[in-house]
Amino acid sequence: MIDLHVELPGLSLKNPIIPASGCFGFGREYAELYDLSRLGGIAIKSATPEKRFGNPVPRIAETPMGMLNAIGLQNHGVDYIIEHELPWLAQFDTEILANVAASTEEGYVEVIRKLNSSPVVKAYELNISCPNVKHGGAALGTDPVLAAHVTKMAKEAAEKPVYVKLSPNVTNIVEIAKAVEAAGADGLILINTLLGMRLDLRTAKPVLANNTGGLSGPAIKPIAVRMVWQCAQAVNIPIIGVGGIRTAEDVLEFLYAGASAVEVGAQNFVDPYACIHIIEALPAVLEKYGLSSVREATGRSLKQ
């Protein structure tokens, strides 16, 4: 019997598969396809202090082995999410990570204080890495001092563990990882999307209305694996790996690199049953490589 169970701060995951924030909404659409209780957890779409419309369209562009998005944190605001989305999610036996975003440090604190009272939310995902907003987001996540400061403020406000989702759009990811660990982060989520761009050959203008967008999909997987591997050697807090995962073999690669669990993002768009397919395939893949549990695989590349 292969043990898929993973214990992380605030999160008791029956398996290590979590749909990534922004790629799964609040689960309602996917709940029409399968039972969300089969998931280890769900990283729900970003909550911001106020309602946000997001960016103009086009927001989506395809790329080789991936896609660009510039949604711009569209959501109904934290109050609406607390009133309408979280009570609905309570029916599922899965761990909810609330992704928190804002344009100021005070905004992050405000959202966290409001979410503290929800029994549905088990941990926070501090989004200091969204590349598609002008303020906050990646502006905070690309400077170790600013990243540490917002992490510290979030930790002081939070009554649940805080995982910090880092931006790959930096020269030295390890420096940021260490800074947020020192500021009290309970875990890391690596990585958010890479800043990218596409141009239309006829108009010579950007394809995306926002000009730039975040690159995700299999194209970024080697970068994500590398960053997890680097950070896993530098910090003592758990890492949730994310970036281009399509298969159970991809999951194993992230576990080997040092991740304790993973998030699946853009693949949900390609295969709406992606998370279920990965969860079903994972035991056989672990067994094939002589492993009897997910925990055993975590950091295996670092132990040799």
Partner: protein, 243 residues
């Protein structure tokens, strides 16, 4: 909603850069007129949303698509006996009202109106199809609407087939005063339709998930809210969204 492999029965060019593909898939029995499927094109990451042109029987449907880029070009090169992964049916579709109807199609927006016409004809309703194209080499569908018993008016911008001008020009020239229209086509056409008539319009959009989760294909509502083309649409009442 179903997801799985669909066998290509045929894939043929029917007009300039325009192809009709017939597929064997159990999705066919669930399709309502105006809905779409997400097609996985081999070698490309995101699926292509393509509206259903006809439900031929409970295991067969046809799609008409235009080659607009590398992905649809690759799709045009697939052949009978190949398999494509299909997900659907998706979206809300056109309403089937118990009244006579005018259908307005522009270019590759024509296909979903064919199944819609079939549904209205099945109810014994009178259907007038007004089809607009850039020129005669891009035109298709006239015979099919006629075979369903519809009145057909064709308009081309260069006058190489039918009335010279837009679909709105053609409707006015024919003296039609539609009570309700159902329209699908490019945004400038839909904007003109919405300014002149009441009814329903179907939008096209760049999509990722196709089921309402990613917020990639939103449109604004007049009150500043937003709706998702893939999930809340692709069919909206005229005036329901900003064009």
């Amino acid at each position: 909603m179903k997801n799985g492999p669909a066998e290509i029965l045929s894939n043929e060019r029917i007009a300039e850069d325009t192809y009709e593909m017939i597929l064997r898939t159990g999705i066919a029995r669930e399709v309502r007129c105006g809905q779409f499927v997400q097609v996985q094109v081999p070698g490309y990451f995101l699926r292509r949303p393509i509206s259903v042109h006809r439900v031929l029987d409970e295991n067969t449907l046809s799609l008409i698509y235009k080659v607009v880029g590398d992905g649809t070009r690759t799709l045009s090169q697939t052949a009978a006996e190949d398999f494509l992964d299909l997900f659907g049916p998706l979206g809300n579709g056109f309403p089937v009202l118990d009244e006579d109807i005018v259908l307005i199609g522009g270019g590759v927006g024509v296909p979903p109106l064919v199944e819609t016409a079939a549904q209205y004809r099945r109810l014994g309703r009178q259907v007038t199809a007004v089809l607009g194209f850039n020129n005669s080499s891009a035109a298709f569908g006239e015979e099919e609407f006629r075979s369903l018993g519809c009145d057909v008016i064709v308009a081309t911008m260069d006058g190489s087939l039918g009335y010279k001008g837009t679909v709105i020009d053609a409707i006015q020239a024919a003296g039609l005063v539609p009570a309700t229209v159902l329209a699908c086509g490019p945004v400038p056409m839909l904007r003109a339709v919405a300014e002149n008539y009441r009814g329903y319009i179907s939008l096209e959009a760049r999509m990722a998930c196709g089921i309402g989760a990613c917020m990639g294909c939103v449109v604004k509502t007049p009150d500043g809210g937003s709706l998702r083309v893939c999930k809340d649409g692709p069919v909206f009442r005229t005036g329901e969204v900003q064009l």
